[in-house]
Each structure stands twice: as C-alpha cells, then as structure tokens.
Subunit: 256 residues, 2 copies
C-alpha cells in the first residue's frame, strides 16, 4: 500500500481503517452501492464497532460515503465541482447565472448581514431567495439581501411577492454600476429552510459563501449562499473552470 | 425576537434553542468564557440534555463555541478572515506569501493529486510542507507537490531535506512562467500529521483548498492546503481584502 514518507506521526486506529476502507471503496464498490452493515464490516476488518463508526464518519465528512435514514450507508458519487465567483464582476442574475429566483419578501437580515449593509438591526430589507440546481440536484440555496436604499425605484412596482418580485429586485439592482465584490467561504450548518430546499436534515454541514456587492464604497447587497458540503466542491477558476477530479474518479480517468 | 418572515418551515426544538443560545452568547458571555455545564444549561433553558447537546454541536460547527477536553465549552473568538488566492497569479513563496517552509521530502502523492499532475501512481514527487501562522496561531498546513519534470535543475543542488530543500524547490519553480491557477474549496477531515501541525485532533473538520499551478497547458504543481474550519473563514478578495465580520463582532462594530 502506498503511503507518503511524510507520515511519521502515529495515526489512530480508525485512521488506518479509513485508509483500508478507502482502498476497498475504490476497488470493490461502485457508486450508489449499499455497504454491508456495521456488524459485518467490523467483523471483516477485525475492529470494534466504535472504531468502524469513527472511520465511517470520516469518510462521510470527506464525501466518500452517504448515510441515509432507511437506506443505510452508500458509496457517494464524486463531489461536483461547482463554479463560484466569475472572474468578472457581475450582479446576481446577470449573464449565464446558474440561479433561479424562488421568492422575495421583506425581512430583517441576520445581525452580521445588517452590519455589512449598515442598516438598523430591525430594519426590513428586500430578501430574494434563489436556488441553484446542477444535474437535477439542488446544490445551493441563497438569500440575497438588498436594502431599500439600493433599489429606490422598486416601491413603484406593484408586484407583491414571489419569483416575479425577485426578478424586479434583481432588475433594479442591475441598473447600478457594480464596482467590486468580495467573497468568503466558511463552514456552517444548514438552517431548517435551507435544509429543506437542499433535501438535507437541518444542521447538516454546509459551505457558506458570503458575497458583498459594492457600489462605490458602499455595500449595495449581500448574498449568503449555502452549498451542500457533502456533494459540492466550490471552484474558483481563473483558467476556464477546469474540473479538479475526485480521488476515485481521478484514478479511472488516468486509465483512459 | 427578530425572525425573518421567510422562516415558514417549522424548525426542530434544538434549532430554536440554538437561536436562544446565540442571543445569550451575544449578550451575556465574552470570548474565552467557560459556559456552565450541560446539566445547568439544560435546566436553565428547560430542555433535555440531548436537545442541548445538539444545539451545542451546531454552535460548534458555526464557530461560536469551542469544546476542549479538560477545559469544557468556551465562547470562541470570531473566525479570522484568512485571505486566499490573490488576484494576480503568483508562485508559492513569491511576494508577500504568508507561508513558512517546514520541510521537503520525496513522496508518492495521493491518487487525486497524481491524476492532476499526470504522474504515475507510484512515482515520487518533491513534497514541500509549509505552515501558515496568523496572530501566533497555526491556521493552515500545506503540502505542495512538484514533479521532478517541473524542476529539472533541482537534482544538481545538494540539499537533502528540510526547509532549505523546500526553498530550493520553490526557487526552481519560480523560474518557470506561471500561466494560470485554479482553486477549489471543499470540506474534509484533518489527517494526523496536519492535525498535529494545526493543534487539532485527527479527523477535525477542515476546509481543503486545492490549487493547481499551470505552465502552458500542463499542471506544474499542486498545493493541498488544510485550513482549520473552526477558526478560519477563507476570503477571496477582489476589492482589497475587506474583512467580513463575525456575527457577534458585527454587532459591536455597529455601535461604534
């Protein structure tokens, strides 16, 4: 078995098991296949159930396994490379935007967003909900917060809510001159509403991408997008969005 | 309590508790403070221990709490914004690079990296280990994989290992004309050696940033950097690296 010569630190038992399981996943199992149950696996690899469970959790974190209620543990498909942050600055909804507007309402944003927008903590802002679907799978849910001050002409439009209202907000936003944007990625947990949209349980690990849109020195809008951490790899491509391959898939591609 | 009007989905019990706890963290506790034990907290909020534990796990995932063995649960400092991916293409070690070379050895890269580099699965490549420290805290560990073909003149240099060897590899790399780079972020778990370097337990959630460096159409090097997910927010700044503030901190800054 190939190991790097850098691994001079002793590894815990479940870690070694994880390596063995990874090799087994690569060689014996195909995507979507259901693994034997924990008792059988523990017996096969000669480890305690607790050790096995730790290794399975690691593999789930790394996107190799999916554990679904009522189904069991299945081999996960390779994570999808999901392009975020185009090289050019564009407003949401401009160009070949991968998002679909779902709805729009007036809501008080989370404190962190209110701070970025420099609105009062209890002030209502236009809140556009959007959805991103790739290969028929929901991959991300987004809330785009737009203060009334950024789209002053919007109130004249008589569209109360829903996707039509969302499109009106985006259209007004696109009339402004976008001077820059700023992005950050961090680990988070799925809120109940996002979880439902993403077909996950509330609290599932997600990658949270926060984007600030600047008009001059002012933050005109903030988008908080929640990506499924189990199925997505966020790509920031400067060279045409070349796909970084998954470990298992990489091996197969090498053969061709 | 302010809630958004979008929250029409019923939320599980621990989720509501999480919101209440978040408010308590903002108003009653300061960074580094140790929370009361689980029994006291469960009694105070009138919930079962299991519900409390779920809420605490969520807050840990979101970076609000840290649970340390032998210490208990403490209020986490705001996540640090760690700038990754400069606007200009630069080689590792060029310009105001935040990384320190730790060592260098020849090792077989993971299969996914070998696939990107188009090296044979068992081929040894120069493997530079680097460390990134911010405000005295280790925030990331990196392995930079450089095939011998990318630095053909290196073999003539008589530096066997360690940071000096690492610097030699970087210097040779910097002589090539970098034509592009490509980045991806995904969730992962800390390997034992990275965990040690990051002062975490093996298997802790990390953000894995994979960078490909192109010379012409060829991948000349691949860096796999492992960032602490509990303390870091990765920022991709196009507008001068303006800091996106943490929720709690954001509130304080508003007041100023």
């Amino acid at each position: 078995m190939a190991t790097t010569q850098l691994d001079t630190v002793p590894e815990p038992k479940y870690w070694h098991l994880k390596t063995v399981l990874t090799d087994a996943l690569d060689s014996e199992f195909s995507v979507g296949e259901i693994l034997p149950n924990e008792r059988e696996l523990a017996a096969r690899f000669g480890v305690a159930r607790a050790t096995l469970r730790q290794a399975l959790e690691q593999l789930e974190l790394e996107g190799r396994l999916q554990r679904r209620r009522g189904v069991g543990t299945t081999v996960a498909p390779p994570r999808m490379g999901v392009a975020v942050g185009p090289a050019q600055h564009t407003w949401p909804g401009e160009g070949d935007d991968a998002w679909q507007p779902v709805g729009c309402s007036d809501a008080t944003p989370p404190a962190a967003v209110a701070a970025l927008l420099e609105t009062e903590p209890d002030a209502l802002v236009h809140t556009v909900r959007r959805s991103r679907v790739t290969h028929g799978q929901p991959v991300a849910a987004e809330l785009l917060y737009v203060p009334a001050g950024s789209v002053p002409d919007l109130s004249a439009i008589d569209v109360p809510a829903g996707p039509a209202r969302a499109r009106s907000v985006l259209r007004e936003l696109q009339r402004l001159e976008l001077t820059g944007q700023d992005r950050a990625v961090e680990l988070g947990s799925a809120r109940a509403d996002d979880a439902k949209q993403l077909d996950r349980l509330p609290g599932a690990p997600v990658l949270v991408l926060t984007t600030r849109y600047f008009v001059g020195a002012r933050t005109a809008a903030v988008a908080v997008a929640t990506y499924r951490a189990d199925t997505c790899r966020l790509t920031f491509g400067d060279s045409g969005g070349i796909e970084i391959t998954h470990q298992g898939e990489g091996r197969q591609r090498r053969a061709s």
